[in-house]
């Protein structure tokens, strides 16, 4: 059984085809990268999988189940987590409070548990808290637990966003340009983190423009252009694919340039 399987995935906005008949499979336990020029439809592609947009046509299968029309909160419960291109956090809360909410989907306490303060509520609160600390540790931010999100650095925010996604207990995590806007030193750290995530058994799928990072990291790369898949393969294959070079990487250049 394939882990995630996309067949003929298409999304149109009015006259514009943002994602065009994409067939693709994401392998479990690997790092998959999606690259492509701006406006190629990468973010849209994520939005489709995570249920934020309904595909115009095509299907999405996750662990054999059809999730094409599943709403985002259910998709998340099935084990698909994501981050956003522009870092998106609960800005007025502290880091730890952010992460605790991330675990909410694994808890069952309802309103009545809250009012009656049932055993379940107490147990789950403790569980959520412990889980949050654990995840924060994992991304290396345990020391920032109590800081308000609005006061931490850009890079920390990126990590919090990843931690938040991890707190949902996902099987696969989709990262939309995690390294955008952070400097090379920090980028390396982030790559490490991604490796660590995969090693812990969670599949990673990422959008990235930083070729140097991607080429060293990804097991498999898909290239989108004008919404259509123009190539897929290992980093080496992609780097040497003339179509990709022409559409994306640029004329004489190779990945090392930037």
């Amino acid at each position: 059984m394939t882990f995630i399987k996309l067949e003929g995935l298409t999304k149109r906005f009015g006259g514009l085809t943002a994602v065009d008949e994409v067939d693709f499979e994401i392998e479990q336990g690997k790092i998959t990268a999606i690259i492509g020029p701006n406006g190629a439809g990468k973010s849209t592609f994520f939005n489709l999988i995570s249920g934020f947009h309904q595909p115009t046509s095509g299907s999405i299968t996750f662990e054999g189940k059809d999730i094409t029309k599943t709403p985002p909160h259910i998709v998340a419960r099935l084990g698909i987590a994501r981050t956003f291109q522009t870092t998106h956090l609960f800005d007025t809360s502290s880091v730890i409070d952010n992460i605790i909410v991330g675990y909410r989907l694994r808890t069952k306490s309802k309103l009545f548990d809250a009012i009656l303060r049932t055993k379940r509520e107490k147990r789950e609160e403790k569980e959520a808290f412990e889980r949050a600390i654990e995840v924060l540790d994992f991304v290396g931010l345990a020391n920032l637990a109590d800081s308000p999100v609005s006061t931490i650095s850009q890079e920390s925010k990126k990590r919090v966003a990843i931690a938040l996604a991890l707190a949902t207990g996902p099987k696969v995590i989709f990262l939309d340009e995690p390294a955008a806007g952070i400097n090379p030193g920090e980028t390396e750290g982030l790559a490490e983190l991604m490796k660590k995530i995969v090693d812990s058994g969670i599949t990673v799928c990422t959008i990235e423009h930083k070729m140097q990072m991607i080429m060293g990291l990804a097991d498999n790369i898909m290239v989108l252009n004008h919404g259509a898949k123009i190539a897929q393969g290992t980093p080496e294959e992609i780097q040497n694919n003339p179509t990709v070079i022409e559409a994306y990487l640029g004329g004489e250049s190779s990945a090392e340039v930037i």
């Binding site: 995570s50 934020f52 709403p71 985002p72 909160h73 259910i74 998340a76 419960r77 987590a81 994501r82 956003f84 998106h88 956090l89 609960f90 800005d91 007025t92 809360s93 502290s94 730890i96 409070d97 605790i100 909410v101 991330g102 909410r104 989907l105 808890t107 306490s109 309802k110 309103l111 548990d113 809250a114 009012i115 009656l116 303060r117 509520e121 789950e124 609160e125 959520a128 808290f129 020391n143 920032l144 637990a145 109590d146 800081s147 308000p148 609005s150 006061t151 931490i152 650095s153 938040l164 996604a165 707190a167 949902t168």
Partner: protein
């Protein structure tokens, strides 16, 4: 730790004060009446606070639901001859039922649209009450709503008894609010207030949560309305009006929206201020209006918010970092960057 003790002591002090209050004013029915009325408003405002303050959805149909609660009690007692307690229970259930139905549709809209949608929905409730004479008595209103039936030896014919009855429900409402706010459910609401989109990605069914929050919120309004009907014992359609909902909102904002004590402080302050300013008659609004505007401009988080940030300011000055993984640390001190 001493802070917790302080806080607890404060709560106990206020509680004792509210319990003893009628003894000090036992022969002043006016003061008791205003106080009881204020308590009823506070119950409704707690409901508003759960939805607007904690879940981030400003519903302006709240007075409409208050009226639905009041009219349910009114109609059920005067026309169907039901026992007050049964009527009150049914009133809350009816309010919740209508809230559920309205919530499903209204929550399709967001932000300002939700606010205005609910404003109009509230106005429709008002119009409905106003026009449906057969049931509601139309503009004339409902006359002769009975006092609550005695429970065993406890009778509710005196002002003091009504005071305690309402106080009981107020404490119950506060208790429920506190429990919700400090729970996983409360965190969920908070998350939705912060960002619905993100909450969704985290597997939170935002639609359902908002709906539940809405229904809980209106149930407070329904309860308050039912109590109002039995206190004033005469109700007219104006309790569903927009003035009423803006009054609630004003009390909430000035007290501090999204805080636990805000509804009490805002309501108490304004209810008594209005009584005090009565001597200025119609010109009081010349003072009152600008005061309101100024408070909103200079103390956007209300009185409670102002006190909190003042305290937060002193606290951070004393100790740089106190590691307590508390929820909702509402301190707003910005930009303490680690280097």
């Amino acid at each position: 730790m001493s802070k917790v003790l302080n806080k607890r002591n404060g709560i106990i002090a206020v509680l004792i004060l509210s319990l003893l209050f009628p003894l000090a004013f036992s022969d002043n029915k006016y003061v008791l009446y205003i106080m009881t009325l204020a308590f009823i408003y506070i119950i409704a405002i707690y409901g508003m606070n759960i939805l607007a303050g904690y879940t981030g959805q400003l519903s302006l149909a709240h007075a409409g639901f208050f009226a639905i609660g009041a009219y349910s009690v009114g109609v059920l007692t005067t026309k169907a001859g039901l026992n007050f307690w049964l009527a009150l229970l049914l009133a809350v259930l009816i309010t919740m039922g209508i809230g559920f139905a309205l919530g499903i549709i209204a929550l399709r809209t967001k932000e300002h649209f939700f606010a205005i949608y609910t404003l109009i929905a509230g106005y429709l409730i008002y119009l409905l009450i106003y026009k449906w004479e057969g049931l509601t008595g139309g503009v004339r209103g409902l006359i002769g709503i009975p006092i609550p039936n005695a429970i065993g030896p406890i009778e509710f014919s005196s002002s003091i008894a009504m005071y305690y009855l309402v106080l009981f429900f107020l404490l119950l409402s506060i208790f429920v609010t506190v429990r919700i706010v400090h729970s996983l459910t409360g965190r969920t609401y908070n998350a939705i207030r912060n960002s619905e989109e993100l909450a969704q990605t985290l597997g939170i069914n935002t639609k359902l949560n908002k709906l539940v929050s809405f229904v809980i919120s209106v149930s407070f309004a329904g309860l308050a309305g039912g109590l109002y009907a039995s206190l004033v014992r005469f109700i007219g359609p104006e309790i569903a009006g927009t003035t009423m909902v803006f009054t609630f909102l004003m009390y909430l904002i000035v007290g501090g929206i999204g805080t636990l004590t805000g509804p009490i402080i805002g309501t108490m302050l304004f209810v008594w201020l209005e009584q005090y300013l009565q001597s200025f008659q119609e010109h009081r609004m010349l003072i009152f209006g600008p005061i309101l505007t100024l408070i909103v401009i200079f103390y956007p988080r209300g009185i409670v918010g102002a006190i909190q940030s003042l305290r937060g300011y002193f606290r951070t000055r004393k100790k740089e970092s106190s590691k307590s993984y508390t929820t909702n640390s509402e301190s707003t001190d910005m930009k303490s960057r680690e280097v």
